[in-house]
Amino acid sequence: MSYFWTKEFPVILNELSLINFKNYSEASIEVCSKVNCFVGNNGQGKTNVLDAIYYLAFCKSYFNPIDSQNIKHDDEFFVVQGGFDREGKSEKIFCGLKRGQKKQFKRNKKEYAKLSEHIGLIPLVMVSPSDSELILGGSETRRKFIDGVIAQFNPVYLDNLLNYQKSLTQRNALLKSFSENRYFDEDSLMIWDHKLAQYGEPVFKERNAFLEEFIPIFQEYYGLIAPENETVGLQYVTKLHEGTFLDLLLENRQKDRAIRYSSTGIHKDDLVFELGNHPMKRFGSQGQQKSYLLALKLAQFEYVKRKKTTKPMILLDDVFDKLDENRVEALIKLVSDPEFGQIFITDTSQERIEPILKKIGKEYRLYNVNEGAVELI
């Protein structure tokens, strides 16, 4: 179990093999324990290598939630395997999916009963251009971000969240049936109000506690990669700051009945990203938004490291592109710290990335990625 890890032993990936995964027919990659960098033009499969590593950690793709769409076009199955070193012992992680069947996930040839047992074994943080969804997308993206971080350390949190979702579905179904059948029964509604409160209140408390610890870390990291005079904020927006869950539900009862949907609760929580006192979404430049996201992810890395007491892997997907020189320097300084675990980088330009790798000053390997083939340079 992950709880017993000690600080001296980061998890290290040694080899990765792919069969029919995304644009790869077959690939076998040996990687080094420090920095691995994949270069090549867009669309050749650099990012897919990182996604395969992400798969082995979280049992799903970072980019495409529909498992079967990660099988190579026209093929019947995919396999992703990784050989890791953990506490001096080797760990073989296997993930296989056949079309129309349940995904298989094995650790040292033994299949997991539940995928959630695996999550947390390989601590990992992904930084990708698609993270911009966190700023530009809907509130669900931001809730998923914090839920994903908290759930890795707090199995009860995930249970509460799942039970909350189920209670919410029940309550919404009831509101709909009231309206369709033109009746109302207070006690029938009240029992689901209590369930929402029972599971929702602890989720609110955990989110609150997490952000209290997380925000200072985040601000520290932003300070490291951005100019000194910029300040950033992160606000947890929730109606639960204003009153107890049951009171909120009671206040909104008439409205909920009218719209046939539960209009208030932790499923409406959001994070507001701020630059100075303005929303980042409208007032931040592209560079500032990039720094904000990078700081968010590095803070996640730091938070995971503290909670897990181990160094997570970090996957930097096309991060150095369009990042101004100061920010590149700051990022190099950060990742060259011995505190960082294994690093995986993708970039379109070997000319740009090689000087950066040299500056990081750790052992590194460069790979060329071309049409689903990976070769050591």
Partner: protein
């Protein structure tokens, strides 16, 4: 796969419509029936049709019965003042097997779940209030499964029973949440029937 006989096809489809039985198992069972004597197969089919035609539900408690009253409600030595509320027959059998409960039952026939279209009026609930109104009942024991829907159904019944004189209790539960009564061992279940607690205590978390 196309089967060589439409009669075989129909039988396989009928058996495969049972929960937990896939087409492969259905074909295996059907071929087995085909090899049996005509008489045996007739008896098999009759058992099912006459079960469906003749089984009734007890007027009083909703349990499965061959007559208007079930064989528990008709036992005069049972304590008429205590009623144990359960989801279905399987829970009755589990509690009976402990031999530690002497009262009567009330079988709901399901639990409240709006997303499955099951509300209080779809369950055998109103007749429970009728039994309590008669004034002969001193205690209602809520013994529904400790799932989310079981809990909410218990809470609903508790709210509706608050206005009556009778005591509402809940069977004591171990640490495991989500336990189903039928899978709890006899000793544990027996103990929890004996050590029941007032329902309002289970509300304070």
């Amino acid at each position: 796969m196309e089967l060589p006989s439409k009669y075989l096809q129909e039988a396989v489809e009928a058996i495969a419509s049972l929960p937990g039985i896939g087409r492969k198992s259905a074909l295996r069972l059907t071929l087995h029936l085909l090899r049996r004597d005509n008489l045996e197969v007739n008896q098999f089919a009759n058992a099912i049709t006459s079960m469906k035609e003749n089984v009734k539900f007890c007027d009083t408690c909703g349990n499965i019965s061959d007559g208007p009253k079930c064989n528990i409600c008709t036992q005069s030595k049972r304590d008429q003042s205590v009623i144990c509320v359960v989801e279905d027959l399987r829970d009755v059998l589990a509690i009976e097997s402990t031999q530690l409960f002497q009262g009567l039952y009330h079988v709901l026939g399901g639990i409240i779940s709006p997303m499955d279209g099951i509300g209080p009026s779809d369950l055998n609930i109103s007749s429970l209030f009728g039994r309590v109104e008669s004034g002969k009942v001193s205690e209602i024991i809520l013994a529904l499964n400790a799932t989310m829907e079981g809990d909410t159904t218990s809470f609903y019944l508790y709210k509706k029973l608050e206005s009556f004189e009778c005591k509402v209790t809940s069977i004591a539960r171990g640490v495991s949440i989500g336990d189903e009564l039928q899978y709890t061992d006899e000793i544990t279940l027996g103990r929890s029937i004996q050590h029941r607690t007032p329902f309002e205590q289970t509300l304070s978390r």
